[in-house]
């Protein structure tokens, strides 16, 4: 049996399906990780964001074969970290979560922004979430939350 070996939220996985299967579908249907959302299936909205080998990815645009040997993290895995706690509080304090559908993706994008640059400017932040669409907030509160997380999380990133 040829299976795809990869790490999912720290656990070793063996996926037995097709290499052409879509990571988004596999995460949601096979591994029941429904925190990863589907907004468009075309890589245009970021609701399906995950982190692969430390980089932000649209899981709807990833075929399983391409993550052979890779490390995948979803919101379920990230929400167990210290960094998440800081981001969680920052978003909560400015009520950046409205309908919530874009939020798991935004949180992972936040982690990638701060992971690359612990003291981002507002432009850096907006650029970092430019692939995550939000229809509710107008983005201001999310941008503010990320800036606050950077300040509060001094030393974590």
């Amino acid at each position: 049996m040829e299976y795809i070996e990869f790490k999912l939220n720290g656990d070793n996985m063996k996926y037995e399906g097709d290499a052409s299967d879509r990571l988004l579908d596999v995460l949601r249907d096979t591994y029941k990780l429904t925190g990863v959302k589907c907004g468009c299936k075309e890589g245009e909205c970021g609701a399906c964001s995950v982190i692969i080998d430390g980089r932000l990815a649209n899981s709807c645009m990833i075929a399983m074969g391409s993550i052979q040997g890779s490390d995948v993290m979803t919101i379920e895995g990230f929400s167990k970290t210290e960094r998440f706690k800081v981001i969680d509080k920052a978003y909560g304090d400015v009520s950046a979560v409205q309908c919530g559908y874009c939020i798991p993706g935004m949180v992972l994008a936040t982690e990638c922004i701060l992971g690359k640059n612990p003291h981002p400017t507002e432009t850096d932040i907006r650029r970092g979430i430019s692939g995550n669409l939000c229809r509710c907030t107008g983005y201001n509160s999310i941008v503010k939350a990320i800036g606050n997380a950077a300040k509060e999380g001094e030393g974590l990133w």
Binding site: S20, G43, E44, N58, M61, I62
Partner: protein, 275 residues
């Protein structure tokens, strides 16, 4: 090399080319175009784990970028040219740039491809290999017609070679649908070099306006060897030549819009360079 259900993950170029020769596979670079269609039951040849294809180097004449370099790799490289970085920085969003590759962008064959425009204006080369063959051709010869490439059976794009000589003074403008996640409506790139008041190089290319990227080096040649003041007197001829040569397609925007904006940008490019 790892064999999967309906997929292969080679570790070297030779492994990849052998599979291309022997099996019915579709090359998969970053997946960001292929997965939009999301064909089922197709056998992919995953190229993203081949280190040889992810190298960015330079020699005396060229900057060489491996086909599997993602746009993020290019953005973060000290070696990649700034004009290419500018074009890439406006492409899609971070998650796409993390996975989309320059090879895939070219391999899509679209005149809207942001990186391809830069390769055209720089008169770049593209190196292709099959299991038993190798060739290096100009990028403009690689694009035959709309979405049709001179890619032979069993061939893979290995790297692009960007001539270093005239990269410093460039003009780049992309008109997308918004400031991120934007498909090009019109894009333009220009290079200009003068030495002791004489124009030694001028190159322009237009993307997203015709079925293939527009590059008329013969028209650009009008200015080579001329002084700035000579060029000024030739400006109208030059612009008219482009006006006549260009035949934009209608798409999400009209031909008129495309033509008008192309000419505007062309004039602006000349203007910032003193013409």
């Amino acid at each position: 090399m790892v064999k999967l259900n309906n997929g292969y993950v080679p570790e070297t170029i030779d492994e990849a080319l052998a599979i291309m020769r022997d099996e019915k596979v579709k090359p998969y670079s970053g997946g960001t175009d292929l997965m939009i269609e999301g064909e089922e039951g197709i056998s992919y040849l995953f190229l993203n784990k081949i280190p040889e294809l992810k190298v960015i180097t330079q020699d005396h004449d060229y900057i060489k970028i491996g086909a599997e370099c993602t746009f993020t790799d290019i953005e973060e490289s000290d070696v990649a040219p700034q004009i290419l970085k500018d074009a890439i920085s406006e492409l899609a969003g971070p998650a796409i740039r993390n996975f989309a590759t320059i090879g895939g962008n070219i391999g899509n064959g679209s005149a809207k491809a942001d990186s391809a425009l830069i390769l055209f204006v720089t008169d770049s080369l593209i190196r292709l290999r099959g299991a038993d063959s190798e060739r290096t051709i100009y990028i403009k010869d690689f694009y035959k017609q709309r979405k049709q490439l001179d890619l032979k059976e069993g061939e893979l794009i290995i790297e692009v070679l960007i001539p270093k000589r005239y990269l410093k003074n460039y003009y780049y403008k992309k008109i997308g649908t918004r400031k991120a996640l934007a498909i090009s409506r019109v894009s333009f790139a220009g290079l200009f070099h003068e030495e002791n008041g004489v124009i030694t190089h001028l190159a322009t290319a237009f993307g997203a306006v015709e079925p293939t990227i527009v590059r008329h080096s013969e028209i650009d040649g009008m200015f080579i060897g001329k002084t700035i003041s000579e060029a000024k007197s030739l400006k109208d001829n030059y612009v008219n030549a482009y006006d006549n040569a260009m035949n934009p397609s209608a798409g999400r925007v009209s031909k008129e819009y495309r033509k008008t904006v192309c000419i505007n940008l062309l004039k602006d490019f000349l203007g910032v360079n003193g013409i």
